[in-house]
């Protein structure tokens, strides 16, 4: 029953005091948020910490959720802010020192070498471009949703994504073809909710 409810309806229920609605939201989005943060920070340990912080922020700041507004961009805005805050606090030292993850559990990847190359290439992108690309390509979010999450207009997101894809193509020349880089991904959040390791 609850699974059929929209994120927005669940969030309203949560704001009205139904803690179980939060459980459903967490189950739906925690994987995607962690995957996003892993790709943005390049670190599994940081992604865990930031995912905790992001959902803690959802709880603490639920009074500021604007009823009727889309939940997912709000959640990703929080996740993005958490990552930026970490980046600012550590002045990029940790992020640049951890381009390769130190996961204790190595996921079974389809092509571990390619995954690693892409992960390393993503870490080399400027924050703004990396955030836009990860949300667009890996989380299946529309440019409009990304614009809300990043607090900028849609045009700016498109420019960031375009420049990011161009840079990725340069970094992955010979590995990741231009055609594949530009291949549109289905905007299906649930696919990513279960599988978001970079």
């Amino acid at each position: 029953m609850a699974a059929e409810e929209t994120d927005e309806a669940l969030m309203v229920r949560f704001c009205d005091g139904d803690a179980k609605a939060f459980d459903v939201l967490f189950a739906r989005h925690a994987g995607a948020v962690r995957g996003y943060l892993h790709r943005v920070t390049g670190s599994g340990a940081s992604a865990d910490d930031l995912t905790q912080a992001a959902f803690l922020s959802v709880v603490k700041a639920r009074g500021r959720y604007v009823r009727g507004s889309a939940f997912k961009p709000w959640l990703f805005a929080i996740a993005t802010n958490a990552a930026r805050d970490l980046h600012r606090r550590r002045r990029g030292e940790e992020l640049s020192a951890e381009p390769t993850s130190t996961e204790t559990v190595e996921p079974k990847v389809r092509d571990a070498g390619l995954e690693k190359l892409v992960r390393e290439a993503l870490v080399q992108l400027p924050d703004a471009q990396r955030e836009a690309i990860v949300m667009h390509r890996f989380e299946g979010m529309s440019f409009a949703e990304i614009a809300v999450a990043l607090g900028v207009n849609e045009g700016a997101v498109k420019v960031r994504a375009h420049r990011g894809y161009e840079r990725l193509r340069e970094l992955l020349r010979g590995v990741w073809t231009a055609e594949e880089a530009q291949r549109p991904e289905p905007h299906s959040g649930p696919r990513e909710a279960g599988g978001n390791e970079p």
């Binding site: 912080a53 959902f55 500021r64 929080i78 930026r84 805050d85 559990v105 390509r137 390791e197």
Partner: protein, 206 residues
């Protein structure tokens, strides 16, 4: 490029959030923080204005005095609310732009009368703005860092100080107005921004 299934126990990441729900099961509406900040800012302004003598020699006319005072009071109140209101970045940007109108009104209202007032006005302005500024910083640490929020909070606090000297200071010369009345508004807003950037956020929500 499809990612594999994660081998991460996500449920263990939920603990702090569940603890927070248990500690405060009721949702606190955003306007409580906004109302609290607006009250503190207004009280500071009232204390600043009421605690000192009033002077009319600073202004060219009573009309200009009242209009400019009203503009600063409205800016102060709106800035306190917008600093905390969810979303509203566009409104905050407009508000920050409208501060230049307050500057212009203040200068237009100046009589040109030189009373030899000096740095004391800037010090009074800073003193009146101090409490609201720190209160605003306390509230803003509950938000992710946002420069427009910090600047709006700084404008709200410094406008309280500005109102105090606007109605107290006898000096209506342009130089004095710019250096010791208006520049401190600018400086205090930037100081609020700098302090906010330095302080850690309690939540990352916008």
């Amino acid at each position: 490029m499809n990612a594999p299934a994660p081998a991460v126990d996500l449920d263990r990441l939920k603990g702090p959030a569940l603890d927070a729900i248990e500690r405060s099961p009721r949702t606190q509406p955003w306007w409580l923080g906004a109302a609290g900040l607006a009250v503190i800012v207004c009280l500071a302004a009232v204390a600043g204005v009421g605690g000192m003598s009033s002077s009319t020699t600073q202004h060219a006319s009573m009309l200009m005095r009242n209009v400019s005072t009203l503009a600063w009071a409205a800016t102060m109140f709106a800035a306190a609310l917008l600093a905390v209101m969810p979303g509203s970045r566009t409104l905050r940007t407009l508000l920050l732009a409208s501060v230049s109108a307050c500057f212009a009104l203040t200068l237009a209202a100046a009589s040109g009368y030189e009373a030899g007032a000096g740095v004391k006005c800037a010090l009074i302005e800073a003193a009146v703005a101090a409490l609201p500024m720190f209160a605003a910083l306390g509230v803003l640490t509950g938000f992710a860092f946002d420069a427009t929020r910090a600047l709006a909070a700084g404008v709200a606090a410094s406008a309280a100080g500005m109102l105090a000297v606007h109605l107290h200071c006898p000096d209506g010369s342009i130089d004095h107005q710019v250096v010791f009345h208006l520049a401190p508004v600018f400086v205090l807003a930037l100081l609020t921004l700098a302090l906010r950037r330095f302080l850690p956020s309690r939540t990352h929500a916008p």
